[in-house]
């Protein structure tokens, strides 16, 4: 035991001495959560548009002003002919063109029908959808003002209730995923690289001939990263709760237990990766391509899994982060009790066991 403790303290010293890595380790989660909280939103701001006004009357002026004063749009330039549209889009700055037909105001008054055309740059489909939605709702709003004082047909009102996230904040959605990615990064990636490093530098040999048994070596390697991950994790929770006001509606005790389970999954994955890679670069490349990218893309962190094609939905089941994200969202946002997440927990536990057994089988006491 004393030997083991000495080994763990050696590992801690290794890590704590390297202040650059340490800075990044703790700076990364903070930077990412601030980024998601402040910089990535679901709302459009200052999208640059062009207006092609064939009519140039009071009505079109009023509508243009209403659109431009909404805060969503910035007028980049006024066009004078349909021939200007294509080059304007190709320049890559404007995202939308609004076209008013000739005699717009007159048509609206006389024949009660006037035409507006909106052209969006759909090379970004999501943005195009949002821009068209915003523009048309502003125009519909203007139209509603025109209808004031007129008798209206009977109407169904729709009352919307947004459950779990009334202000539709994107940070609510990202925090659970961010936890998974940071835990994976620190535990799986750091562990695998630090063991691969001993192999690459040849110091693994020295450890293996020491009186420590292989199990102690591996556990000793893992312990410091376990604690660093835990501290990181707590920082994320505190920031999420107190800076971005993400609620923790469920039991915090359950949340921490589940997170420790996921930590063990990540650590066992890290060990597994290190047993199959002989140098740091290989360990890094495997960690990134087999762990990090899938955890970001296929886990539901940014893109909802249920929108993906079926084969990918099936594949997403083997990604531990997916299960962890379901668990965390359930506990934090929806306040579910353990009975709702039994399946997810069992899957994570099963995966951990599998990775541990596989690592033991793959672990070589002797170097080749």
């Amino acid at each position: 035991m004393k030997r083991f403790l000495a080994f763990v303290s050696k590992e801690f010293k290794h890590i704590l001495r390297d202040y650059r890595t340490l800075l990044i380790l703790f700076g990364m989660p903070i930077a990412q959560i601030l980024l998601f909280g402040f910089a990535i939103t679901n709302e459009i701001k200052d999208a640059k548009i062009a207006i092609l006004d064939f009519s140039k009357d009071n009505t079109t002026q009023e509508i243009s002003n209403k659109i431009l004063s909404s805060g969503y749009f910035l007028l980049y330039k006024n066009l004078s002919s349909t021939r200007d549209i294509e080059p304007a889009f190709k320049e890559g700055i404007i995202k939308e063109v609004i076209i008013f037909e000739p005699e717009f105001g007159k048509n609206l008054e006389k024949s009660k029908l006037a035409n507006i055309q909106i052209i969006a740059d759909a090379s970004d489909p999501n943005l195009a959808n949002m821009l068209i939605g915003y523009t048309s709702s502003i125009i519909l709003d203007y139209q509603k003002d025109l209808l004031k004082g007129k008798t209206l047909p009977p109407i169904i009102n729709t009352d919307i209730k947004m459950l779990f996230n009334p202000n539709l904040k994107s940070v609510f959605m990202f925090v659970p995923g961010l936890m998974a990615v940071i835990l994976l990064l620190v535990s799986a990636m750091m562990t695998s690289i630090s063991i691969a490093k001993e192999k690459e530098l040849g110091t693994m040999e020295i450890l293996l001939v020491s009186p420590l048994n292989p199990l102690q070596i591996i556990v000793g390697k893992v312990v410091p990263y376990f604690f660093i991950s835990l501290i990181n994790y707590i920082i994320i929770i505190i920031l999420a709760k107190y800076v971005f006001l993400v609620p923790i509606t469920g039991s915090i005790f359950l949340l921490i237990l589940e997170s420790v389970l996921f930590l063990l999954t990540s650590l066992s994955l890290g060990i597994l990766i290190s047993t199959i890679s002989n140098n740091q670069q290989t360990a890094l490349m495997i960690s990134i391509s087999a762990l990090m990218l899938p955890a970001i893309i296929l886990s539901g962190y940014i893109f909802p899994v249920e929108n993906m094609p079926l084969p990918l939905q099936v594949i997403s089941n083997i990604i531990p982060a997916k299960w962890f994200i379901i668990i965390v969202r359930g506990i934090m946002l929806k306040g579910v009790s353990f009975s709702y997440i039994v399946t997810e927990t069992a899957v994570l536990a099963g995966m951990t066991l599998f990775f541990v057994l596989l690592s033991i089988k793959k672990f070589k006491i002797r170097l080749e």
Binding site: K112, K150, P153
Partner: protein, 371 residues
């Protein structure tokens, strides 16, 4: 020249000898491209919804049939309690509850005003926004139908007809949108990581000393170190473009030549960044972490997954100085919109300046002597 050639030969030998790296450098990006471009979609289909209908009238059934008939919604469950129905949110079975109160039809007929409640699972804020839009469109349609049916339009009211078109991707296909962005991510990651870890590896193993005492000049060393990764990066881009065009049928409206011209300068930005990182660090672990940190920032703020327009003004200003954002924008412009050389010229200038700054910093930081 001969010296550079020899270093190049050594580097290529080292890369291709490492058996476990070859599949990672060459196959993983392809696999990622195939998987990621399919996975990265905000398109929402088959939204499962529950019905709580306390009214059970002709009118409420009409509303429900409007939902089931649309392409976006799939009926999950019918029940008589909103609380029970909300349970299915917790079990991740449904995203929307349509709650129709008692006297829904009666109120509409007698008072001309009636209400329906939509409860949306808003865990995912942006998805909730989209579901809300779809649902509102359906109730708006119903309102128009009813107005026509009851024909109580007393006088013609002024109407503005909005006609919209989506240019350059009229089907709003996400794969078309994602592939150029993912190619940018792949090229950037491969370039930064490979170059970032390479020099630092020589430092860590101690072989840098042997190189330092050799007659190799600084510039020869750096050229020899970077060229292999430049070729790998450009080769990967070419391969990725081919896959995009052949497998995903991505349009290539502009000239591939312009893409490669931009990419060849962009690679120097990326490699310069990697090299700078490796001169600032002592171990591969540090290098990797710093590289990862900046890449994540650059990529997330690069407009690849979320539009730059959805960031606040200060973040949009920063995005201008983000090479990933610039390359991503240029790739989409050239491939999807057919922008020409003139349109991407500012980006090219930007890359040239950026690359020179990065390279000079890296060369300046690289010292043969121990500090």
């Amino acid at each position: 020249m001969r010296i550079i050639y020899i270093i190049l030969k050594k580097e290529f030998l080292q890369i291709f000898r490492n058996k476990s790296m070859i599949p990672l450098i060459f196959f993983m990006p392809v696999l990622q491209l195939l998987v990621l471009s399919n996975a990265a979609t905000y398109e929402i289909k088959n939204i499962k919804f529950n019905i709580v209908d306390y009214d059970q009238s002709h009118f409420s059934r009409e509303l429900i049939s409007k939902f089931t008939a649309s392409n976006y919604f799939v009926l999950n469950d019918v029940s008589f309690s909103v609380e029970n129905s909300e349970e299915s949110f917790k079990k991740n079975q449904a995203k929307l509850i349509i709650h129709i109160p008692k006297d829904f039809e009666k109120n509409f007929r007698s008072q001309g005003l009636s209400g329906v409640q939509l409860v949306i699972n808003a865990e995912d804020g942006s998805a909730a926004g989209i579901i809300n839009n779809y649902a509102l469109n359906i109730t708006r349609d119903l309102n128009i139908d009813m107005a026509v049916e009851s024909s109580v339009m007393p006088e013609p009211v002024p109407m503005i007809n909005i006609d919209y078109s989506n240019w350059y991707n009229s089907e709003l296909d996400y794969i078309t949108y994602m592939v150029p962005g993912i190619l940018v991510v792949l090229v950037t990651m491969i370039g930064t990581f490979l170059s970032g870890m390479n020099v630092v590896k020589e430092k860590e193993i101690g072989t840098i000393e042997q190189l330092n005492v050799s007659p190799i000049k600084k510039y020869q060393f750096i050229t020899g170190k970077l060229m292999p990764f430049w070729f790998i990066g450009i080769g990967e881009l070419a391969f990725g473009l081919l896959i995009g065009i052949i497998v995903f049928k991505i349009p290539m409206l502009g000239s591939p030549l312009i893409i490669f011209m931009l990419a060849s300068v962009y690679m120097f930005v990326v490699l310069g960044m990697g090299l700078l990182i490796s001169t600032l660090t002592n171990t591969q672990q540090q290098a990797m972490f710093i590289a990862w940190f900046f890449l994540v920032l650059f990529i997330l703020m690069g407009g690849i997954f979320t539009p730059v327009e959805s960031m606040p003004a200060w973040a949009q200003a920063i995005a201008y100085f983000n090479p990933v954002a610039q390359f991503n924008r240029a790739m989409r412009m050239i491939m999807l919109k057919g922008s020409g050389f003139k349109d991407v010229l500012p980006t090219l200038y930007f890359f040239i300046v950026y690359a020179s700054v990065m390279m000079s910093l890296a060369v300046w930081r690289y010292r043969k002597t121990e500090s």
